[in-house]
């Protein structure tokens, strides 16, 4: 992990050894990271890992038991709260307020004038396809629409640091795409975005940076490429022949039969079988191919794929995952 000295001076967000205790329970333990301006960072972790508690501490809704948090250069988020945008995990709106007025209300709370907030609310609703619902009370909107309204409310005041807790939950695929564009657009305009999600595909498409938290501790902080490097490269192949020559290779660290479509995973079955080979770091998958040709192993298929973020997540915080610190 980056040492504190290496953290950029103009970090949009910086946490140093932040710990939060609820009684005896350590919800967050010694978490440190920093985000530079204009970056998109995915904040990942299983349920109950401490993501929401960390976010609440960043926003000063909760006070850390120990450690320090700097937000946009200030030690208190309250001082810069007009420059922050926040979408909580559990979404809700005032039921009887109209869509535009709820966006405008949150924008005025963030320091915009009433007139400017109203104008901005209508602008945003139009841009994101909700123009016709601007005057509707929020309880007349569908769940997805209401969520879009809430997202717009959290960015209406054009914040410099945007924290989105599960922004994709409840949105259909089209609107998930719209949400991704919105996040990319924020970053393009030099806004910093920290978002949490359980859907790895979004993080994979959007993030330059990944933070992984489990049981209150930050277990990974790095770029997407670094994250993927934590998972051994894998080769998948399909053959009916004996693959024991491959097991003996120095480059191969593990060999596993892959479950078949019917859920069976019996490597001794005759006929065509699927295998997954885990390679050691810096090994060349071409060695596997060469060995197959050399030893007469007939391949029906050979697939050398990049690990996905899902693989990273499963490896790092899956049930059998060990806690590992990287870099």
């Amino acid at each position: 992990m980056k040492s504190e000295n290496e953290m950029p001076a103009a970090a949009a967000l910086q946490l140093r050894h932040v710990t939060k205790l609820f009684g005896q329970f350590k919800a967050v333990e010694d978490v440190s990271f920093s985000l530079g301006p204009g970056s998109i960072c995915g904040f990942l972790g299983p349920n109950g890992a401490g993501k929401t508690t960390t976010i609440r501490m960043i926003l000063e809704i909760l006070k850390p038991t120990s450690g320090a948090i700097t937000v946009l250069g200030r030690s208190s988020a309250l001082e810069v709260r007009h420059r922050l945008g926040y979408l909580p995990e559990e979404k809700g709106l005032y039921k009887k307020m109209r869509a535009w007025s709820i966006i405008a209300y949150f924008a005025t709370l963030k320091g915009m004038t009433r007139k400017a907030a109203r104008k901005r609310a209508f602008e945003l609703l139009e841009r994101y396809g909700l123009k016709d619902f601007a005057e509707k009370p929020t309880d007349a909107l569908s769940k997805g629409m209401a969520q879009k309204v809430q997202i717009l409310a959290s960015i209406a005041h054009d914040p410099e640091l945007v924290i989105l807790d599960e922004p994709f939950a409840g949105l259909d695929p089209v609107n998930q795409g719209v949400m991704e564009d919105l996040i990319r657009d924020l970053a393009r305009r030099d806004r910093t975005v920290l978002f949490s999600t359980h859907v790895m595909e979004h993080a994979e498409r959007l993030c330059q940076r990944i933070l992984l938290i489990a049981r209150g501790r930050l277990i990974f902080d790095g770029s997407m490429a670094e994250a993927k490097r934590t998972v051994p490269r894998r080769v998948r192949l399909e053959t009916g022949d004996d693959i024991s020559p491959l097991r003996d290779l120095a480059e191969v660290s593990a060999v596993r039969p892959l479950p078949r479509a019917d859920g069976q995973a019996d490597g001794r079955d005759p006929g065509s079988l699927h295998w997954e080979l885990e390679l050691r770091e810096n090994s060349d998958p071409q060695v596997i191919l060469q060995t197959c040709f050399g030893r007469g192993i007939r391949l029906q298929s050979f697939n050398q794929s990049e690990p996905t973020l899902h693989d990273v997540f499963m490896r790092l915080v899956g049930p059998e995952a060990r806690e590992v610190a990287f870099r």
Binding site: Y86, E90, G92, L93, K96, T108, L109, K110
Partner: protein
Amino acid sequence: MKSALLVAWREYAENAKTRGFWVGLFLFPLIVFLSVQVPILLEQKATPVRYFILVDPSRGLAPAIEAALEKSCQRQMLGALKEYARKNALPMTNSAAPRPAPSLEDLNEADALSLETFVAKGGRDFFLAQLEPRLRPGAPPFQEPRRPFQQVKLPSTINPKAELSSIADDLKPYLRQDKVLEADGLPVQLAAAILIPPDYENQIVRPQTRSPAAGPRPPASPRQIQYWSANASDPRLREEVERAVNAEIRRREYLARGMDAGVIEQVEHTYIPVASLNPKKEKGREAIGTLDTIRQWAPSAFVYLLWVAIFSVMQMLLSNTIEEKSNRIIEVLLSSVTPGELMMGKLFGIAAIGLTMVGAWVAALFGILSWKSGGASELIGQVFLVLRTSNLVPVFAVYFLLGYLMYAAFILSIGSVCNTLKEAQSYMAAMTLLMMVPLMTMTFIPKDPNGPLARVLSWIPLYTPFIMMNRATADPPLIDLLGTLVLLLATTIGALYLAGRIFRIGILRTGQPPKVLEMLRWAFRR
């Protein structure tokens, strides 16, 4: 502070749009209106005319009873005429035309001589004619009050000369409403029958002839005057008859003992007035009038207003806090404003709603009063005078604000830990019970405003606003006034401070609401 004002404005604007607010706004005046109007309507329309039969073969008492009932009708007539004049006639000018004597305004229906003058002058027709030139243009015609009791003749099938017991038996089906009578060609129901035996004089009870062992009343016998009626819940006719009969019997006793009829009448109309005086009033003006009665009871009205206002505003604050908590809007809010600003904003926004509601109620109250008592009403003038000259309105404002803030502290604590109104119900039940005390004592306090009950309750901060409001016009001792105010202020500040701490922790909590002890731990934890 700006954020708190924004929160307050939203609370105000959004609550003012709710159905509950408008229902509350109109419900209270509607209740006041109905409680003024319904009894009047019932009196005028719903109370049926009671038809009765009077059988008095000897005609010994019938004239006295008939005269008494007629007098009662005339009293009602005079009252109605005076009310009609007050609403529809221009006030009498002092200078121009000579004041006719007697004028309607000089007569008092409660005074026997006035009533006699009214009847002697020609009653309704005379005074209506007298009123005619002074009537406002477009005044409605005078509506004569209905006679409450109407005498009807014995049905032709019953022999009036028969024994009283047989007449009573014959009348029973009519009295049980099994049969109807006819009066002026219309079928009517018989409400009562008064049967007077010819030898009623033998039944007169005299102290000098009655043995003390006989008890207070002789047992019922068929030889007594009988009042038959299936309806025991309306005793007015019975009382009128009893009063008239006994007055007549006594008059005859005086005559029998050699007193002059004129003297008797004079004696009957002789009385001595008793003046109510208040030693606290300015010398020469110690007499207690309507104004003082209003002054004494007005605080009670304000206590009621205070209670209803605080209670309804509490409900708003509670449902509103729970909505924000259960909707999780609270998290977004807390990323924009501090919990302190949020609390302040809510408190002031809802207080403003409460004041708007109370203001509207007071305005509606005045409207109803002035409408009910005619344009230039004497009563409304006096109520205004009391409000202007007393400290009731500023005192009300102070106690509303402090009382509201203190109770709001409890409500915010409850609201911040409950996820649904249902969860809040058990806490609210306890609050409501606590709040019932000032309502129950509301009518006792003005009777002894500086007595032990009033003083003790005043020093309990939960009740200070209500009880001190109740004592507002009774000049409570300075120590009570200032001491309780300081205590109330300190309690309110303390309660708000502790509520702030509970609010901060409770508002983000999910799951079961905590026990009261745990909430106290949050409040007092360092």
